[in-house]
Structures are given as C-alpha cells and as structure tokens.
Amino acid sequence: MRSFSYERVPTPAAAAKAAAAATKGGLRPHHYLAGGTTLLDLMKLDVMRPQAIIDINPLDANSYGRIEISQHGLRLGALVRMGEAADHPEIQAQYRSSPSR
C-alpha cells in the first residue's frame, strides 16, 4: 500500500476544507473514509491510490448516519454501514434485489 496523509474531521465543512487543502498541497487524489471496506481493500491492491485520506467518522452520527426513505427515494447517510443498510426493514421491503429468503 502506498502511503498517504490522514486527517480526521468533525464536520462536513472541515472535510471540505481538508479536501481543498490536500488538493492545494498537491496530494491528489483525496478520498473520504467512512467504513473503508472497499477503499482499504482497493488500496491494498494498488487500484486506488489516494495521497490524502479524510476520515469522516467523527461526524455526528445522528445527522450523517441516518437512513431515510421517502416518496423521493432512499437517502443513505455517509456514515451508514453496509450491514445497517442490509438490515433495514424498509430497504429489505422496497429495495430487495432477489426474491430469496
């Protein structure tokens, strides 16, 4: 895995600021880290090569970890884990891809 700079941010504004700073400092590309399952795997395989990682996990989970379903569709907060989405009763009811189980 290639090395990278790492920063934790508490708010979306701080995340945007960190991203702008990374770009300005020549650290391209930057990626946001939430769960990281795909990002870390692809970094190990040298498919994704971020020079800056911005960890958004300190964001307020009450605001950014929500799953909302409305007439406009499905809205997944940036901190929603795959397991939480898969386990959500309304997602299971309305967004099932296979009829099994």
Binding site: S3, S5, Y6, E7, A18, A21, G26, L45, R101
Partner: protein, 190 residues
C-alpha cells in the same frame, strides 16, 4: 516479520503541503502517527506507520495473535474484532482510525479465568476443527447475540455469514450460538 502493508510500500507520498495548509501535524504520509486506543480494557499509546491495519497492529505490535489473518481482504472474517462493541474486519480497518476507541479481541473475552459463555459454548458443541476461523467466529457470534440477531437458526446463519469456516463446522457453530444466547442474556441481566 514485515507486515504485508509496509513490505509492499516503498513509496512515500509528498508530505508537507497538506500539513502546512491544514495545520494538522502528525497526519502526514511517511511519518509515524501517535495514537492512543484501548485494547481489551487496557489503554495503549503507540506510534506506527499510518498504513498499519488494526489487524497488523494487534498481531505484530501488541503480540495479540489470537486475531487471525486469513485473506487480508475482508472476505473470510477470520480477523473479526469488536470496535466499541461492534464487529469489524480488522484487516480493513486502519489502526489510526481507531484512535480513542475500544477494541476487544479474543484475548479480552474471558474474565478472571472464566471463559466467556460463547467460548464455552464453542467447546461444548465442538464448533471448530482446525480452529483458525474460531476467534473471528466467536467475536462475531458475541456481537450477533448482542445485536439481537440470534433468535433462530436462520438468523444465526444469515448474521454469521461473514465468517467462513473451511472445515465446515457450521452446524456446530449454530448450535454453539444457540447455547450461548440465553446464558449471555442471563449474564447481562445480573
């Protein structure tokens, strides 16, 4: 032994720009990061390469080799640990991202020489053969019960499906989870 992540990584990214721009020292590529985290109830202060996975930190730095490295790509579940009580794949978790959080490994489950009910249930039900996946299975099973996902066999199979057992001890693993569930519920009420 060199970790997989560092062995394959001769390149150090340019470092000074972002730090200067954001004023956030200690987060720069190529320089060790200082992190304090809690492992099995014990606070640990460590400095390590930013690329270090939680799995490599546990095994290579802390000597906690109970957590196993299977695929190192998040497919097998052998490296499952609890992070603030929630199960995570330690191979796909950056150690630096666990700052200030609580990690529980298989070494931290027993208390005062008494096995955790799930550990005991795995022994009672012969829920393993080679044992390599077992620490991950047990951590996952503990979380599975705590999540309320162990009410029936179908749920147990579904919510344990991220932990592969190539010896195929699955029937006995399900039996172990079923045995431990009421014991864990009773213990949590005490």
């Amino acid at each position: 032994m060199a970790t997989v992540s560092t062995a394959a990584a001769p390149l150090l990214a340019r470092s000074s720009g972002a730090e200067a721009a954001t004023g956030q020292p200690g987060s720069t590529a190529g320089r060790p990061v200082d992190v304090t985290l809690t492992v099995n109830g014990q606070e640990r202060q460590l400095a390590f390469d930013v690329r270090t996975s939680l799995l490599d930190l546990l095994r290579e730095r802390l000597g906690l080799t109970g957590t196993k490295k299977g695929c190192d790509h998040g497919q097998c579940g052998a490296c499952t640990v609890l992070l603030n009580g929630r199960r995570v794949l330690s191979c796909l978790t950056l150690a630096v991202a666990t700052k200030g959080r609580e990690v529980t490994t298989i070494e931290g489950l027993a208390s005062n020489g008494t096995l955790h009910p799930m550990q005991q249930a795995f022994i009672d039900n012969d829920a393993f053969q080679c044992g390599y996946c077992t620490p991950g299975q047990i951590l996952s099973a503990v979380a599975c019960v705590n999540e309320g996902h162990a009410d029936n066999e179908a749920d147990i199979r579904e919510y344990m499906s991220g932990n592969l057992c190539r010896c195929a001890a699955y029937p006995n693993i399900v039996a172990a989870v079923k045995q431990a569930r009421p014991v864990m519920k009773t213990a949590s009420k005490d």
